[in-house]
Symmetry: C3
Subunit: 154 residues, 3 copies
């Protein structure tokens, strides 16, 4: 029996990937109290497409937005693995967005919208989050985008 | 009837701006439990001055400090909009400071002091916070500084 | 009477430094509810070795890992100063790792493992944390690595 959020994902045509495993001594999520703290997820779908490179250089704005969207899907896949049921998510509290950028690429919020929009498409008003977006010198495996999240959960 | 923190702001000659609205699918603040999580605020006063550019290049240390102070004022304006009454702030828990920097500008903490000092001027000991300061490749709209915050609230 | 974690530190041959004092209007740690929020610690042992410079330029991967390990030791020293007894740590919830990098150094997770591995060596399963790792343009005093932490405490 699929939950409401599973149904919404199906409606949007989103298939959650098997969530990527951390390659080291950390874990994808930690629950503390009512918060689910999620490790930064990069713009690489496990076994699928990876968006690598820098905004302001080889990537277009649209590619950056798609990269941010992949990060958000990975975050939701991690939350599903941790919670079992995505309907336990009461609120997306915060997204932190790190964009792999040249020192002159200032359209960072437009890139990050790829992640923010997805959260609202899926969770509605409960997907509206606090957000910090910055452009960084480099990301793991030269990923284009990395996004971390905190969810309030029941 | 103004609260204690409103009175302190007046004493310091600080007029809070109308808080900037996010231009996308996110919100300025999210409350979860006793925490108010605030989106990163950049060094642009709504309808007013904006401090743009990089530390280590076109900006002086003093301009960077002023930029950090503007971010902190924007954070307090957002907290006021969320809480109604700034006296509900029990503690500034954490500031995250992102400085738009060249790869050789290492005086980042001195820049961030513009935000930290303001929190202590306004809230006294309750303004003393944990802090992380880093220099990043670029910030939204080429802002000089971006600061995010977590407050403990009643 | 030393606690269990103190005994484990001794077993690993780790001597905690006197924790570095913030040089400004912030504090090393803030407790809010069951969370201990720790300020970013850079790769400089107080009165001892400092690892400075950029990964991808003058520093080797091994030097970066050692830098991340120093940050983690500083975080534990700060937690000890705040809590008195490290056995009060129930879980390392999250580490945020900022690596001073050139724009092409993508082995950032391997650097950050220096911090993550130490947490697990010391706290065992309770040391497994959520993690975000990014490469930044510059860090305070040109430190090679800066790591921040959130612990769940009793």
């Amino acid at each position: 029996m699929a939950g409401k959020i599973d149904a919404r994902l199906a409606e949007l045509g989103i298939v959650l990937p098997s969530p990527p495993s951390p390659a080291a001594n950390y874990v994808p999520t930690v629950r503390t109290g009512s918060l689910l703290v999620c490790s930064g997820q990069v713009s690489a779908a496990p076994g699928g497409q990876a968006v690598k490179g820098k905004l302001g250089a080889e990537l277009t704005l649209e590619q950056g937005q798609e990269a941010a969207r992949i990060c958000a899907i990975n975050l939701i896949a991690q939350a599903k693995a941790a919670l079992g049921d995505l309907d336990k998510i009461k609120r997306c509290v915060r997204l932190g967005g790190f964009i792999n950028s040249t020192p002159t690429f200032a359209q960072l919020p437009l890139v990050m919208n790829g992640a923010s929009d997805l959260m609202v498409e899926i969770f509605g008003d409960a997907g509206r989050h606090a957000r910090t977006t910055v452009g960084v010198a480099e990301l793991p495996s030269d990923a284009a985008v990395e996004v971390e999240a905190i969810f309030e959960v029941s």
